[in-house]
Protein backbone atom coordinates (compact mmCIF):
# COMPACT_ATOMS: atom_id res chain seq x y z
CA UNK A 1 0.00 0.00 0.00
CA UNK A 2 2.73 2.47 0.95
CA UNK A 3 4.87 3.30 -2.05
CA UNK A 4 8.47 2.13 -1.88
CA UNK A 5 10.34 4.51 0.43
CA UNK A 6 13.69 3.56 -1.11
CA UNK A 7 12.56 5.23 -4.33
CA UNK A 8 13.11 8.53 -2.49
CA UNK A 9 16.81 8.08 -1.84
CA UNK A 10 17.49 7.74 -5.55
CA UNK A 11 15.34 10.67 -6.62
CA UNK A 12 17.26 13.71 -7.89
CA UNK A 13 18.59 15.89 -5.07
CA UNK A 14 16.56 19.06 -5.09
CA UNK A 15 16.63 22.01 -2.78
CA UNK A 16 13.07 22.71 -1.99
CA UNK A 17 14.29 25.80 -0.34
CA UNK A 18 13.77 29.21 1.05
CA UNK A 19 16.36 31.75 -0.06
CA UNK A 20 16.36 35.50 0.55
CA UNK A 21 18.59 38.46 -0.29
CA UNK A 22 17.99 41.97 1.06
CA UNK A 23 19.85 45.24 0.72
CA UNK A 24 20.26 47.58 3.67
CA UNK A 25 21.97 50.94 4.11
CA UNK A 26 25.54 49.71 3.77
CA UNK A 27 25.42 46.27 2.20
CA UNK A 28 23.42 43.12 1.71
CA UNK A 29 22.24 40.18 3.78
CA UNK A 30 21.71 36.75 2.22
CA UNK A 31 19.67 34.14 4.07
CA UNK A 32 18.63 30.53 3.50
CA UNK A 33 17.28 27.41 5.20
CA UNK A 34 19.35 24.20 5.26
CA UNK A 35 17.21 21.36 3.95
CA UNK A 36 18.16 19.30 0.89
CA UNK A 37 15.55 16.71 -0.02
CA UNK A 38 15.48 13.73 -2.38
CA UNK A 39 11.78 13.10 -2.83
CA UNK A 40 10.34 12.91 0.68
CA UNK A 41 13.64 12.05 2.38
CA UNK A 42 15.82 14.80 3.83
CA UNK A 43 19.23 14.02 2.40
CA UNK A 44 21.02 16.82 4.23
CA UNK A 45 19.47 18.68 7.15
CA UNK A 46 22.34 21.13 7.53
CA UNK A 47 23.30 22.12 3.99
CA UNK A 48 24.90 25.45 3.19
CA UNK A 49 23.02 27.04 0.34
CA UNK A 50 24.87 30.32 0.51
CA UNK A 51 27.95 29.84 -1.64
CA UNK A 52 30.95 32.07 -2.10
CA UNK A 53 31.95 33.22 -5.58
CA UNK A 54 34.53 35.85 -4.63
CA UNK A 55 35.56 37.73 -1.46
CA UNK A 56 32.74 40.17 -2.01
CA UNK A 57 30.07 38.22 -3.94
CA UNK A 58 27.98 35.30 -2.67
CA UNK A 59 24.98 33.48 -4.12
CA UNK A 60 21.93 31.70 -2.70
CA UNK A 61 21.10 28.48 -4.58
CA UNK A 62 17.67 26.91 -5.08
CA UNK A 63 16.17 24.21 -7.30
CA UNK A 64 18.31 21.30 -8.42
CA UNK A 65 21.32 20.97 -6.10
CA UNK A 66 23.51 19.60 -8.89
CA UNK A 67 22.61 22.34 -11.37
CA UNK A 68 23.10 25.16 -8.90
CA UNK A 69 26.45 23.74 -7.74
CA UNK A 70 27.82 23.39 -11.26
CA UNK A 71 26.68 26.89 -12.22
CA UNK A 72 28.34 28.35 -9.14
CA UNK A 73 31.54 26.39 -9.85
CA UNK A 74 31.73 27.72 -13.42
CA UNK A 75 30.93 31.30 -12.40
CA UNK A 76 33.56 31.16 -9.63
CA UNK A 77 36.08 29.95 -12.21
CA UNK A 78 35.25 32.71 -14.70
CA UNK A 79 35.21 35.38 -11.99
CA UNK A 80 38.63 34.27 -10.79
CA UNK A 81 40.10 34.74 -14.24
CA UNK A 82 38.22 38.02 -14.68
CA UNK A 83 39.62 39.33 -11.38
CA UNK A 84 43.17 38.49 -12.44
CA UNK A 85 42.72 40.30 -15.76
CA UNK A 86 40.93 43.26 -14.21
CA UNK A 87 43.39 43.68 -11.35
CA UNK A 88 40.68 44.45 -8.82
CA UNK A 89 37.65 42.73 -7.26
CA UNK A 90 34.84 41.84 -9.66
CA UNK A 91 31.60 43.81 -9.36
CA UNK A 92 28.33 42.20 -8.28
CA UNK A 93 26.82 43.12 -11.66
CA UNK A 94 29.46 41.13 -13.55
CA UNK A 95 28.96 38.10 -11.32
CA UNK A 96 25.18 38.29 -11.78
CA UNK A 97 25.49 38.60 -15.55
CA UNK A 98 27.77 35.54 -15.69
CA UNK A 99 25.13 33.59 -13.78
CA UNK A 100 22.56 34.91 -16.25
CA UNK A 101 24.62 33.78 -19.27
CA UNK A 102 24.88 30.23 -18.00
CA UNK A 103 21.24 30.07 -16.92
CA UNK A 104 19.93 31.59 -20.15
CA UNK A 105 22.06 29.68 -22.62
CA UNK A 106 21.31 26.36 -20.95
CA UNK A 107 17.72 27.09 -20.05
CA UNK A 108 16.42 23.80 -21.42
CA UNK A 109 18.63 21.73 -19.17
CA UNK A 110 19.01 23.71 -15.97
CA UNK A 111 16.49 23.93 -13.18
CA UNK A 112 17.94 26.41 -10.75
CA UNK A 113 16.92 29.78 -9.37
CA UNK A 114 19.75 31.90 -7.99
CA UNK A 115 20.02 35.08 -5.94
CA UNK A 116 23.31 36.95 -6.37
CA UNK A 117 24.32 39.38 -3.63
CA UNK A 118 27.44 41.30 -2.76
CA UNK A 119 29.19 44.59 -2.23
CA UNK A 120 31.53 46.50 -4.54
CA UNK A 121 33.05 49.96 -4.32
CA UNK A 122 31.15 51.33 -7.32
CA UNK A 123 27.54 50.47 -6.50
CA UNK A 124 27.66 49.38 -2.86
CA UNK A 125 25.38 46.55 -1.81
CA UNK A 126 23.36 45.01 -4.65
CA UNK A 127 20.98 42.06 -5.03
CA UNK A 128 20.21 40.43 -8.39
CA UNK A 129 17.62 37.71 -8.95
CA UNK A 130 18.20 35.14 -11.70
CA UNK A 131 15.09 32.93 -11.78
CA UNK A 132 14.35 29.95 -14.06
CA UNK A 133 14.82 30.90 -17.70
CA UNK A 134 17.74 33.25 -17.12
CA UNK A 135 16.02 36.61 -16.66
CA UNK A 136 18.19 39.01 -14.64
CA UNK A 137 16.40 41.43 -12.31
CA UNK A 138 18.06 43.90 -9.96
CA UNK A 139 15.94 44.26 -6.82
CA UNK A 140 16.11 45.89 -3.40
CA UNK A 141 15.24 42.46 -2.04
CA UNK A 142 14.74 39.04 -3.61
CA UNK A 143 13.09 35.82 -2.46
CA UNK A 144 13.29 32.40 -4.08
CA UNK A 145 12.78 28.67 -3.70
CA UNK A 146 9.64 26.77 -2.89
CA UNK A 147 9.31 28.43 0.53
CA UNK A 148 9.19 31.89 -1.01
CA UNK A 149 5.54 31.39 -2.00
CA UNK A 150 4.67 31.94 1.65
CA UNK A 151 6.68 35.13 1.91
CA UNK A 152 5.34 37.39 -0.87
CA UNK A 153 2.63 38.78 1.39
CA UNK A 154 5.00 39.01 4.34
CA UNK A 155 7.55 41.09 2.44
CA UNK A 156 4.90 43.28 0.83
CA UNK A 157 4.02 44.30 4.37
CA UNK A 158 7.30 44.11 6.27
CA UNK A 159 9.90 45.40 3.79
CA UNK A 160 11.15 48.98 4.24
CA UNK A 161 13.81 50.84 2.35
CA UNK A 162 16.93 52.00 4.26
CA UNK A 163 16.94 49.46 7.12
CA UNK A 164 19.89 49.11 9.46
CA UNK A 165 22.02 45.97 9.44
CA UNK A 166 20.34 44.55 12.53
CA UNK A 167 16.82 45.31 11.28
CA UNK A 168 17.59 43.62 7.98
CA UNK A 169 19.12 40.58 9.67
CA UNK A 170 16.09 40.18 11.94
CA UNK A 171 13.79 40.46 8.94
CA UNK A 172 15.68 37.75 7.04
CA UNK A 173 15.74 35.34 9.98
CA UNK A 174 12.04 35.93 10.70
CA UNK A 175 11.15 35.37 7.06
CA UNK A 176 13.11 32.13 6.60
CA UNK A 177 11.68 30.90 9.87
CA UNK A 178 8.11 31.64 8.73
CA UNK A 179 8.70 29.84 5.45
CA UNK A 180 10.16 26.82 7.24
CA UNK A 181 6.98 26.70 9.35
CA UNK A 182 4.79 26.15 6.29
CA UNK A 183 6.97 24.73 3.52
CA UNK A 184 7.67 21.02 3.89
CA UNK A 185 10.63 21.38 1.57
CA UNK A 186 12.36 23.93 3.80
CA UNK A 187 13.75 23.30 7.25
CA UNK A 188 16.74 22.92 9.53
CA UNK A 189 18.77 25.95 10.51
CA UNK A 190 18.80 29.50 9.22
CA UNK A 191 22.10 30.67 7.79
CA UNK A 192 22.82 34.31 6.98
CA UNK A 193 25.77 36.01 5.28
CA UNK A 194 26.26 39.75 5.65
CA UNK A 195 28.42 41.52 3.05
CA UNK A 196 29.50 45.16 3.28
CA UNK A 197 32.54 47.40 2.88
CA UNK A 198 34.11 45.88 5.99
CA UNK A 199 33.91 42.31 4.76
CA UNK A 200 31.79 39.21 5.20
CA UNK A 201 30.11 37.80 8.33
CA UNK A 202 28.44 34.41 8.60
CA UNK A 203 25.70 33.75 11.13
CA UNK A 204 24.00 30.56 12.24
CA UNK A 205 20.57 30.29 13.87
CA UNK A 206 19.89 26.71 14.99
CA UNK A 207 16.41 25.31 14.34
CA UNK A 208 15.54 25.01 18.00
CA UNK A 209 16.23 28.69 18.66
CA UNK A 210 13.90 30.04 16.01
CA UNK A 211 10.67 31.72 17.16
CA UNK A 212 7.51 29.64 17.46
CA UNK A 213 4.63 30.49 15.17
CA UNK A 214 0.93 29.64 15.18
CA UNK A 215 0.05 26.17 16.47
CA UNK A 216 3.67 25.32 17.33
CA UNK A 217 4.60 24.36 20.88
CA UNK A 218 7.72 24.65 22.99
CA UNK A 219 10.23 21.86 22.78
CA UNK A 220 11.03 19.62 25.74
CA UNK A 221 13.50 16.84 26.39
CA UNK A 222 10.78 14.52 27.63
CA UNK A 223 7.18 14.32 28.79
CA UNK A 224 8.57 13.34 32.15
CA UNK A 225 9.97 16.85 32.58
CA UNK A 226 6.51 18.24 32.10
CA UNK A 227 4.94 15.75 34.49
CA UNK A 228 7.55 16.37 37.14
CA UNK A 229 7.24 20.12 37.04
CA UNK A 230 5.14 21.77 39.80
CA UNK A 231 1.36 21.75 39.08
CA UNK A 232 1.65 19.36 36.23
CA UNK A 233 -1.25 19.03 33.85
CA UNK A 234 -3.08 15.74 34.37
CA UNK A 235 -2.75 13.25 31.52
CA UNK A 236 -5.94 13.27 29.46
CA UNK A 237 -7.50 10.14 28.04
Amino acid sequence: MDHDATADVNAPHSMGTTIIGVTYNGGVILGADSRTSTGLYVANRASDKITQLTDNVYICRSGSAADSQIVSDYVRYFLHQHTIQLGQPATVKVAANLVRLLSYNNKNMLQTGIIVGGWDKYEGGKIYGVPLGGTIVEQPFAIGGSGSSYLYGFFDQAWKDGMTKDEAEQLVVKAVSLAIARDGASGGVVRTVTINSEGVTRNFYPGDQLPLWHDEVEAHNSLLDILNATNPEPMST
Binding site: Y74, R100, L101, L102, S103, Y104, N105, N106, K107, N108, M109, P131, L132, G133, G134, T135, I136, V137, Q139, S149, Y152
Partner: protein, 265 residues
Amino acid sequence: MDTLLSSEGDSQRTQYPYVTGTSVIGIKYKDGILMAADMGGSYGSTIRYKSVERLKQVGKHSLIGASGEISDFQEILKYLDELILHDNMWDDGNSLGPKEVHNYLTRVMYNRRNKFDPLWNSLIIGGVKNGHKYLGSVSMIGVHFEDDHVATGFGNHLARPILREEWREDLTFEEGVKLLEKCMRNLLYRDRSAVNKLQIAKITEEGLTVSQPYSLKTFWNFAAFQNPTVGAEGSWILCLMMFCCTKTCAFVDASFSFIARHGSA
Protein backbone atom coordinates in the same frame (compact mmCIF):
# COMPACT_ATOMS: atom_id res chain seq x y z
CA MET B 1 29.61 30.31 -29.62
CA ASP B 2 31.55 29.84 -26.40
CA THR B 3 31.12 26.13 -25.66
CA LEU B 4 31.70 26.57 -21.94
CA LEU B 5 28.89 29.06 -21.57
CA SER B 6 26.34 27.15 -23.69
CA SER B 7 25.72 23.65 -24.89
CA GLU B 8 25.55 22.33 -28.43
CA GLY B 9 23.72 19.22 -27.27
CA ASP B 10 20.06 20.08 -27.90
CA SER B 11 18.88 19.26 -31.38
CA GLN B 12 15.18 19.50 -30.49
CA ARG B 13 14.28 22.68 -28.68
CA THR B 14 10.94 24.25 -28.01
CA GLN B 15 10.99 25.88 -24.68
CA TYR B 16 8.30 27.19 -22.41
CA PRO B 17 8.22 30.66 -20.92
CA TYR B 18 8.97 31.24 -17.22
CA VAL B 19 8.91 34.96 -16.44
CA THR B 20 6.47 36.70 -18.75
CA GLY B 21 5.19 40.18 -19.51
CA THR B 22 1.62 40.77 -20.65
CA SER B 23 0.11 43.09 -23.30
CA VAL B 24 1.78 46.01 -25.03
CA ILE B 25 -0.30 48.55 -26.99
CA GLY B 26 0.94 51.00 -29.63
CA ILE B 27 -0.82 53.74 -31.57
CA LYS B 28 0.14 56.34 -34.15
CA TYR B 29 -0.86 59.88 -33.28
CA LYS B 30 -0.41 63.31 -34.81
CA ASP B 31 3.27 63.79 -33.92
CA GLY B 32 4.49 60.20 -33.78
CA ILE B 33 3.94 56.99 -31.86
CA LEU B 34 2.61 56.29 -28.37
CA MET B 35 3.17 52.96 -26.64
CA ALA B 36 1.97 51.61 -23.31
CA ALA B 37 2.88 48.57 -21.24
CA ASP B 38 2.60 47.65 -17.59
CA MET B 39 5.61 46.72 -15.48
CA GLY B 40 4.62 43.23 -14.44
CA GLY B 41 6.73 40.07 -14.71
CA SER B 42 4.58 37.03 -14.00
CA TYR B 43 5.93 33.62 -12.99
CA GLY B 44 3.05 31.35 -13.93
CA SER B 45 0.10 32.62 -11.94
CA THR B 46 2.28 34.51 -9.43
CA ILE B 47 2.88 38.18 -10.10
CA ARG B 48 6.53 37.95 -9.16
CA TYR B 49 8.12 41.19 -10.40
CA LYS B 50 6.43 44.57 -10.45
CA SER B 51 9.11 46.85 -11.87
CA VAL B 52 10.05 45.29 -15.19
CA GLU B 53 10.63 47.86 -17.94
CA ARG B 54 9.12 46.47 -21.12
CA LEU B 55 9.49 49.59 -23.29
CA LYS B 56 13.02 50.37 -24.49
CA GLN B 57 14.77 52.74 -26.86
CA VAL B 58 16.52 51.38 -29.95
CA GLY B 59 18.96 53.77 -31.60
CA LYS B 60 17.83 57.31 -32.37
CA HIS B 61 14.52 56.66 -34.05
CA SER B 62 12.84 53.56 -32.60
CA LEU B 63 11.03 52.22 -29.57
CA ILE B 64 10.47 48.54 -28.81
CA GLY B 65 7.87 47.02 -26.50
CA ALA B 66 7.84 43.34 -25.63
CA SER B 67 5.53 40.79 -24.10
CA GLY B 68 6.39 37.16 -23.38
CA GLU B 69 9.52 35.69 -21.82
CA ILE B 70 11.59 38.46 -20.25
CA SER B 71 14.93 36.65 -20.54
CA ASP B 72 14.43 36.38 -24.31
CA PHE B 73 13.56 40.10 -24.46
CA GLN B 74 16.79 40.87 -22.58
CA GLU B 75 18.66 38.82 -25.19
CA ILE B 76 16.89 40.65 -28.04
CA LEU B 77 17.99 43.97 -26.52
CA LYS B 78 21.57 42.70 -26.65
CA TYR B 79 21.19 41.81 -30.34
CA LEU B 80 19.72 45.25 -31.04
CA ASP B 81 22.56 46.88 -29.12
CA GLU B 82 25.04 45.15 -31.41
CA LEU B 83 22.98 46.09 -34.49
CA ILE B 84 22.96 49.77 -33.55
CA LEU B 85 26.64 49.68 -32.63
CA HIS B 86 27.63 48.34 -36.03
CA ASP B 87 25.32 50.84 -37.70
CA ASN B 88 27.06 53.67 -35.84
CA MET B 89 30.49 52.33 -36.68
CA TRP B 90 29.84 52.84 -40.39
CA ASP B 91 29.88 56.54 -39.48
CA ASP B 92 28.15 57.35 -42.76
CA GLY B 93 25.49 59.72 -41.54
CA ASN B 94 22.76 57.10 -41.91
CA SER B 95 20.97 55.46 -39.04
CA LEU B 96 18.59 52.54 -38.85
CA GLY B 97 14.95 53.56 -38.59
CA PRO B 98 11.98 51.67 -37.14
CA LYS B 99 11.16 49.98 -40.45
CA GLU B 100 14.66 48.54 -40.68
CA VAL B 101 14.68 47.43 -37.03
CA HIS B 102 11.28 45.80 -37.56
CA ASN B 103 12.57 43.92 -40.57
CA TYR B 104 15.70 42.77 -38.73
CA LEU B 105 13.66 41.46 -35.83
CA THR B 106 11.23 39.72 -38.18
CA ARG B 107 14.14 37.81 -39.72
CA VAL B 108 15.56 36.91 -36.29
CA MET B 109 12.19 35.67 -34.98
CA TYR B 110 11.31 33.73 -38.10
CA ASN B 111 14.68 32.03 -38.37
CA ARG B 112 14.59 30.97 -34.74
CA ARG B 113 11.07 29.61 -35.30
CA ASN B 114 12.38 27.53 -38.19
CA LYS B 115 14.94 25.96 -35.88
CA PHE B 116 12.22 25.10 -33.34
CA ASP B 117 14.02 27.36 -30.89
CA PRO B 118 11.88 30.50 -30.73
CA LEU B 119 12.42 33.68 -28.81
CA TRP B 120 9.20 33.56 -26.85
CA ASN B 121 8.10 37.16 -27.37
CA SER B 122 5.61 39.34 -29.18
CA LEU B 123 7.27 42.61 -30.08
CA ILE B 124 6.00 46.02 -31.08
CA ILE B 125 8.32 48.43 -32.87
CA GLY B 126 7.42 52.07 -33.43
CA GLY B 127 9.22 55.23 -34.43
CA VAL B 128 9.50 58.29 -36.63
CA LYS B 129 12.18 58.91 -39.22
CA ASN B 130 12.31 61.74 -41.72
CA GLY B 131 8.74 62.64 -40.94
CA HIS B 132 7.39 59.14 -41.56
CA LYS B 133 5.63 57.44 -38.68
CA TYR B 134 6.01 53.65 -38.48
CA LEU B 135 4.34 51.12 -36.21
CA GLY B 136 4.69 47.36 -36.59
CA SER B 137 4.56 44.11 -34.69
CA VAL B 138 6.33 40.70 -34.81
CA SER B 139 5.25 37.52 -33.12
CA MET B 140 7.36 34.63 -31.84
CA ILE B 141 6.76 32.70 -35.03
CA GLY B 142 7.66 35.58 -37.31
CA VAL B 143 4.17 36.82 -38.21
CA HIS B 144 4.63 40.52 -38.81
CA PHE B 145 2.56 43.47 -39.98
CA GLU B 146 2.26 47.20 -39.61
CA ASP B 147 -0.82 49.21 -38.79
CA ASP B 148 -2.10 52.43 -37.24
CA HIS B 149 -2.64 50.63 -33.96
CA VAL B 150 -1.18 47.31 -32.75
CA ALA B 151 -1.23 45.24 -29.60
CA THR B 152 0.11 41.97 -28.20
CA GLY B 153 -1.57 39.20 -26.27
CA PHE B 154 -4.75 40.16 -24.45
CA GLY B 155 -4.42 43.63 -25.91
CA ASN B 156 -5.53 42.23 -29.24
CA HIS B 157 -8.83 41.13 -27.77
CA LEU B 158 -9.52 43.92 -25.31
CA ALA B 159 -7.71 47.01 -26.58
CA ARG B 160 -7.95 46.82 -30.37
CA PRO B 161 -11.77 46.91 -30.49
CA ILE B 162 -11.65 50.15 -28.50
CA LEU B 163 -8.97 51.48 -30.84
CA ARG B 164 -10.93 50.48 -33.93
CA GLU B 165 -13.82 52.65 -32.70
CA GLU B 166 -11.94 55.61 -31.29
CA TRP B 167 -8.59 55.94 -33.07
CA ARG B 168 -8.08 58.86 -35.44
CA GLU B 169 -5.15 59.99 -37.57
CA ASP B 170 -4.98 63.42 -35.90
CA LEU B 171 -5.02 62.47 -32.22
CA THR B 172 -3.20 64.97 -30.05
CA PHE B 173 -0.76 63.76 -27.40
CA GLU B 174 -3.35 64.26 -24.64
CA GLU B 175 -6.07 62.41 -26.59
CA GLY B 176 -3.65 59.60 -27.40
CA VAL B 177 -2.61 59.16 -23.78
CA LYS B 178 -6.26 59.15 -22.65
CA LEU B 179 -7.09 56.56 -25.28
CA LEU B 180 -4.18 54.30 -24.23
CA GLU B 181 -5.17 54.71 -20.60
CA LYS B 182 -8.71 53.66 -21.43
CA CYS B 183 -7.33 50.49 -22.99
CA MET B 184 -4.88 49.84 -20.15
CA ARG B 185 -7.62 50.27 -17.53
CA ASN B 186 -9.75 47.76 -19.38
CA LEU B 187 -6.80 45.34 -19.43
CA LEU B 188 -6.29 45.91 -15.74
CA TYR B 189 -9.88 44.87 -15.05
CA ARG B 190 -9.91 41.84 -17.31
CA ASP B 191 -6.34 40.48 -17.68
CA ARG B 192 -5.23 38.35 -14.76
CA SER B 193 -1.56 39.02 -15.41
CA ALA B 194 -1.92 42.80 -15.50
CA VAL B 195 -0.45 44.93 -12.72
CA ASN B 196 -1.40 48.47 -11.85
CA LYS B 197 1.89 50.12 -12.62
CA LEU B 198 2.52 51.23 -16.16
CA GLN B 199 4.67 53.35 -18.40
CA ILE B 200 3.71 55.26 -21.53
CA ALA B 201 6.40 56.04 -24.10
CA LYS B 202 6.27 58.73 -26.77
CA ILE B 203 8.47 58.91 -29.83
CA THR B 204 8.46 61.81 -32.28
CA GLU B 205 10.89 63.19 -34.83
CA GLU B 206 12.50 65.14 -31.99
CA GLY B 207 13.16 62.19 -29.74
CA LEU B 208 11.90 59.62 -27.29
CA THR B 209 10.62 59.77 -23.71
CA VAL B 210 9.51 56.94 -21.46
CA SER B 211 7.26 58.15 -18.65
CA GLN B 212 7.91 57.47 -15.00
CA PRO B 213 5.99 54.46 -13.65
CA TYR B 214 2.48 55.39 -12.48
CA SER B 215 -0.84 53.75 -11.55
CA LEU B 216 -4.39 54.18 -12.84
CA LYS B 217 -7.49 54.76 -10.73
CA THR B 218 -10.07 51.97 -10.98
CA PHE B 219 -13.82 52.19 -10.53
CA TRP B 220 -15.84 49.72 -8.47
CA ASN B 221 -18.63 51.88 -7.03
CA PHE B 222 -21.60 50.68 -9.06
CA ALA B 223 -24.94 49.65 -7.60
CA ALA B 224 -24.86 46.46 -9.61
CA PHE B 225 -21.49 45.61 -8.06
CA GLN B 226 -22.68 46.31 -4.55
CA ASN B 227 -25.76 44.13 -4.87
CA PRO B 228 -25.13 41.70 -7.67
CA THR B 229 -27.63 39.10 -6.55
CA VAL B 230 -30.64 41.36 -6.01
CA GLY B 231 -33.60 39.81 -7.77
CA ALA B 232 -31.93 36.48 -8.27
CA GLU B 233 -34.00 34.55 -5.76
CA GLY B 234 -36.74 32.53 -7.44
CA SER B 235 -36.27 31.77 -11.08
CA TRP B 236 -39.62 33.22 -12.17
CA ILE B 237 -38.64 36.61 -10.78
CA LEU B 238 -35.34 36.36 -12.65
CA CYS B 239 -37.18 35.46 -15.85
CA LEU B 240 -39.60 38.32 -15.31
CA MET B 241 -36.72 40.72 -14.73
CA MET B 242 -34.90 39.49 -17.80
CA PHE B 243 -38.10 39.78 -19.82
CA CYS B 244 -38.62 43.33 -18.63
CA CYS B 245 -34.97 44.09 -19.19
CA THR B 246 -34.87 42.83 -22.76
CA LYS B 247 -38.20 44.43 -23.57
CA THR B 248 -36.89 47.70 -22.17
CA CYS B 249 -33.66 47.39 -24.14
CA ALA B 250 -35.54 46.55 -27.29
CA PHE B 251 -37.86 49.51 -26.67
CA VAL B 252 -34.90 51.83 -26.09
CA ASP B 253 -33.13 50.52 -29.20
CA ALA B 254 -36.26 50.89 -31.23
CA SER B 255 -36.81 54.44 -29.99
CA PHE B 256 -33.28 55.42 -30.91
CA SER B 257 -33.57 54.02 -34.41
CA PHE B 258 -36.94 55.70 -34.83
CA ILE B 259 -35.43 59.02 -33.81
CA ALA B 260 -32.43 58.39 -36.01
CA ARG B 261 -34.60 57.70 -39.04
CA HIS B 262 -37.13 60.40 -38.55
CA GLY B 263 -35.13 62.97 -36.58
CA SER B 264 -36.14 64.40 -33.27
CA ALA B 265 -37.96 67.64 -32.78
